[in-house]
Each structure stands twice: as C-alpha cells, then as structure tokens.
Symmetry: C2
Subunit: 359 residues, 2 copies
DNA sequence: TTTTTCAACAAAAACGTTTAAGTAAAGAGG
DNA sequence: CCTCTTTACTTAAACGTTTTTGTTGAAAAA
C-alpha cells in the first residue's frame, strides 16, 4: 500500500526503531547523535548528517514518556490552585504557565477547590505522573510535599519550601506617597475583613508608611470590611456609612479593588465626584479595575512577576540550585483616573455646609 | 540503616518490584491483582488480600509513565488556548479542567498567544507527550490535528473535529423577548465589530428573533462597534453618538458585556438613568457584569457547560464513541438590575422636547 | 606476522509497568 | 501408576527511549 521509505502516515508517530530500519543503524547510534551526547564525537560527520536528515525527513519526535521513564527528566511540574476561573488564580497561572512553557516545561493543573480530600489526593496523583516539582498558589498546605515546592501567597510555612510574598511596606508607601504628593492630607481607609490573610499585615504596613510620610491617620476615617463576597458591593455599605459620619476627607485607600469599586459607586451615589471631590486608590489591579469609569488607580500586585518568579525558582531548585525561604516582590502603583490633586480645604467646608443631614 | 520490611522513606516511590520482594510474588501477579484483570480470578482470595494489604501499607502508586508507555492509556489531554488570563479563556479552561479531573484525566495547557509558530509547535509537543486528544479554545486551526479534537468557538471547520457553538438564535430571542415583555418597543442595538467572528451570526439571529416577536428594528437605532480593545470604553463613544442623534428608545441591546458597560456609563453621563430611563442588556456574562451598579442583565454564554461538554465529548471520542460535527449549547438570560419595565411613551416625547439639539 | 589500537558502530540492560505464554505442583480420572 | 486438568503462579516480552559495555574490521605498531 504505502512504500516503506516514504514518510509514514501521521497516525502512528515514527520512532527510533523506524529510523533504525530506514538507516540501517542501531537505535543507540541514532539516539546518541540526535542528543548530541559526548559519545557522538566518535560518529563520523557523514553518518551524523544522514541521521539528522532522516530525523528531519520523518519528523521524528522522541516519545516523552519513554524518555522520562528511562530516568531522565520529565520536564513536567504540577500546579496546585484552588480555582482558576476568577482573576487572581487565572493571572498567576497564566504567568506560571508562560514561564514554564518558555523553558520547555509542561505542567499539569489541579484545581482543588479547597476540598481537603482533593488537596490530599492531587499531589499524589501528580507525583504518580512524575512531576519534578510543585507550584502551589493561594493554598494552605497541610504537610510539605515530597518534591521541590514554591508557594505563592501561601498561608503556612513548611520546611524546605520557598514562599513568594508581596512587599506590603512598599505597597503602602507607594499609595500613600502618591496621595500625599497630590496634596491629600485627610485620607480615609477601608481595612480588610478580619478573616482575610493580608488584612493585618497590610494595615500595619499602612501605619508604618503613614508614619514615615508624616501623615496622621484619623480614627474617624477608618472603616472595615465585614461581609465575605466576591462582589464589589463589599465596599458599598461601609463607605455609605462613612459618608454619613463625615465628608471631611479628600482621598480613600481601599483594602482591595473590589471594595474600591463599591466605594466608587457609594461616592457617586452620595453626590461626590471621583476624582474631583475624592480620590480613590484600590489594591490588586484586578482586570475590572481598569474597566471602571473612572478607571481605578491602584497598587498592583505583580501577579505576572510572581508567577514567573515561582516558575524560575522552581526550575532552579529542580536543578539543584538555591532554596530561598522567602522571596519578596515589589508592588507597583498604577495611576489611572480615580486620583487627582486634592481640592482645597475651603471647598470642603462649602460642600459640608450644603451637605446631607446626618442621622 | 532502615529495615527492609519497614515502609520505605518517601524519597523514592515504592514500585512493583519492591512489593514483589516484600511479598515473595512476581510483579505480574501483583499487577493483575491490583488491576483486577480477569486473570486475577485464578488468584486465591488469601493472596489477593495479602497483595492489597501490602499495596496499602506501602502506599503503592503505579508509575503513570510506565503504565502509559506500556500501551495503555495516558489519561492525558492537551488544551490549546490563546490566553488564560482574561475571563473567557479562564472560565472555559476551568470548566474543561474540572470535568477532566473528575474523570481521572489530567491535562496540559498550552497558551499559544495566537503566534503561528507556537500554534504549529505545541500540538506536536503535546503529541510527543502522548496526549490522547485535544481541546481547542477560541483558536483558528490551520490544519486538523492528528488526534480526537473538540473545538470551542473555533473559526474554521475541519474534517473530523467536533465544534461546540452557542445557539445564537435562542440567545437573541431570549434577550428580545425579555425586553418586549417589559414593554419595550423602541430598542437600540450595538452591533459587533466587523472583524469579530460572532458579529454577523449574532446580528442575523437578532433580525430573525425580532421578526418572530413582531418587533421592528429601527435603522436609526443601530450603531456598530469599531475599535478593538478589551476595555468597556469600546461601547462609550458609539452610545454617546447615538444619544446625540436620538433619545427615543427605552432599551439597548449591546453586542457584549464590555460594550454594555461602556454604554451604562455613556447613558449615565448623558443624564439618563438605568434602568429607569433605559434598560440595558449585555452578552456573555463576564465576571464584571455582575459587578456593575446597576448590575447588568445579560445573555449568558454557558462557558462552564461548554467546557464540560467539550471534555465529555472528547473523552467519548477517545473511547471510540460518536463524533458529532457540531454541538449547540443554549444561552441563558441572566436578569439583573439593568432592565426594568419600559417608561410610558409620553415621557419619551417630553424628554425629547427638552432634548439636545441635533448636529 | 602478530599484537595493539582505534574508529565506528551494535548489543543489551534499564526505566516500571502490563500481558501473553508458560510451568510446577497438586488433584482428578482412568 | 500414568496421564490430564486445574491451580497458582512465574517468565519473558513489550512499550520507546538512553546509556553502558561490547564487538568488529582495519590500520598502526612491534
């Protein structure tokens, strides 16, 4: 039907044996030449060229399973993540994936949805598939994994794993410095929910940053998130309540973009313009931050960098390199439309006089 | 150092040979018992129990590489997607992944970023890794792939692949029916950009739906998107322009959520309230649709269903099952705050009289 | 001429499974 | 007592590589 020396059909991939038959050489010789191992030096150039030509002609691709099995590297890592359909996980995963692919690694993704039994099972299954290491995103590991592991925004520290964390001090400083430079002195704050991992860390960082900038934090301008939701509504009621107490502030620094978006609406619904009357700064730089009108000035968590870094460190560790306990990444201030120079204090008084009745 | 019958340390996984040594049985026997093959019927229950117990004790996990290599199934599929950091890709991928994991399959993700060389290379690399099939998301394939393939929102049809597409007729009908039931008669439309794949299909569907509902489409209420951006700003200028021409409409059906969000802002900036003055319907149900205030009524593309369906059909095909050319999925109308009963026509007139000068 | 050395490759083992084919011992049937 | 089954396994091949060790024929050295 099909002549033997013709390129075989695409159904069964051509293997070393096929080349061996075609070239009249042993698979050993072909393998060494194609891999350019030291032993290939003993093979004359003419033969090498014949081999290369044949491999090219038949589009030979070594079977990765066989290669990995033989004891070489699997060039595969496992990624554990709670969810990838929401912004955070997707962004980090995308960055991790891009880095790994660029280095010739493939990866399995296992979404455990925070179910303990899956968190127990998936690492084992991934190990069964010979992954060389793990990248763990936003997940609390019960026990350390039996392979090189890099954790992004993890909640616990274990022996031997590398943690990638945001530099919260710098984040707070960037945001407050920006506002101070715009002339803002009375700044309102939305603190994170008590159960949110970063809430305390970030608030402490804000206090330090305020101190270093000579900025005084007014107790009456602080509100705290309470409800647990993925909707920006999270920020709406607290800002409405704040506005009933006082309008004597020119800027608002929210715990995250979600609450900042809720705040935008609350401010607008209260008749205040952003940024003319109040500047708003968010945190995270989720996708919809840029989508708001006005678009949101925010402290960006470099999720792409964090992902790429995780990939880089993991591959390093796999190759027996250093194993840092913690790597800190720097946030970035993304200035958009929601921040502007502070209005003069006099205007505040004027607005206040014509303001809404309290209570 | 370590006694031989003790559970081995976690560094090297225990293999069939280890069990063989421990039990004094051949690997063949152990394998057949653990796999419950027909041949295991000849092994007495006592032995079987011994084997099971040992496997349990040492937490034996068969090496997936070896198993796949031996010619059985790799239980792995490849997923080709342009990008996973934006909503669409992430949502579909999440659904695909969940389905596959639930069926014991793992998957490699390859993000080709629409670069032709990667689109050429990645399928080959995935094949090298013995994937059993492909799921291709939002990608124009140049040539059919050499394995079972399911395409979600693909742009071309090839021999032997299964396409998963949205039922656009139903989508259009749902949206218009909703508006009609709310009493809307004068409805404005935002058409998709000429280069967008679904633009024409969807518009045709809208025309058919309008016809069937006895709704007349007014030429002067149609605008079309032009710019190519991921920001909702895409919808802003066209709606502003529309509003300069006329305010004589009570509802707006946008091409997608992005443009609908831009439209929300444009309407508000023109002094119109949503939904009191104008109802707005979007399309897709991207995450930020629910995040708007008012939250957006929209036609939901069941990206989760589409992903799960793709997984299901692919596994079916891999197991030699049916190979449908096209599978249509139904959209769903998600009613939120941006739609409400039409205001009476009289008010329209009133508004119009006090309206903006034309030209 | 015989031995040694070298070039150029081949043979075979190994990775950890699965599976077809084979076999020793025990029991059944004659 | 001999043969035939059956039981309960074992042996060995196979998957497609990589890698260590061997082998062959010819040229160089003795």
């Amino acid at each position: 039907m099909r002549k033997s020396k013709e390129a075989p059909n695409t159904h069964k991939p051509v293997g070393l044996k096929d080349l061996s038959r075609y070239l009249g050489l042993s698979t050993a010789t072909i393998s060494t030449v194609l891999n350019g191992t030291p032993a290939a030096a003993e093979i004359p150039a003419a033969t090498q060229e014949r081999i290369l030509a044949a491999a090219e002609k038949f589009n030979y691709r070594p079977n990765a399973l066989a290669r990995s099995l033989r004891g070489m590297r699997s060039h595969t890592v496992g990624v554990l993540v709670p969810e990838i359909s929401e912004g955070y996980g997707a962004l980090v995963l995308a960055a991790v994936g891009d880095y790994l692919l660029s280095k010739g690694y493939f990866f399995f993704v296992a979404t455990h949805r925070r179910k303990p039994e899956l968190l127990e099972e998936y690492p084992q299954m991934l190990r069964q598939r010979s992954v060389e290491g793990f990248i763990v995103i936003d997940t609390a590991l019960e026990k350390p994994l039996p392979l090189p592991t890099v954790v992004i925004s993890g909640h616990r520290n274990h022996e031997g794993i590398t943690n990638i964390v945001l530099n919260h001090d710098r984040a707070a400083h960037l945001a407050l410095e920006h506002l101070v430079q715009l002339g803002h002195e009375r700044i309102a704050f939305i603190q994170g929910q008590p159960f949110s991992a970063d809430s305390e860390t970030r608030w402490k960082a804000i206090e330090r940053a305020a101190e270093s900038l000579g900025l005084e934090i007014q107790e009456e301008l602080i509100v705290q998130l309470e409800i647990d939701t993925f909707s920006p509504y999270v920020g709406y009621p607290v800002v409405r309540r704040l506005l009933q107490r006082t309008r004597d502030f020119t800027a608002l620094f929210a715990y995250n973009d979600l609450s900042a978006i809720g705040a935008l609406r609350a401010l607008r619904d209260s008749g205040l313009r952003v940024p003319e009357d109040v500047s708003v700064v968010g945190f995270d730089d989720i996708n919809s931050a840029a989508f708001q009108i006005p678009s949101l000035t925010t402290v960006r968590q470099p999720l792409d960098k964090m992902g790429a870094l995780a990939g880089e460190i993991l591959l390093q560790r796999i190759q027996g390199g250093e194993n840092p306990v913690e790597v800190m990444v720097d946030p970035e201030l993304i200035v958009r439309e929601s921040t502007a120079p502070a209005r003069p204090r006099v205007e505040v008084g004027a607005k206040l006089e014509s303001g809404v009745a309290i209570g």
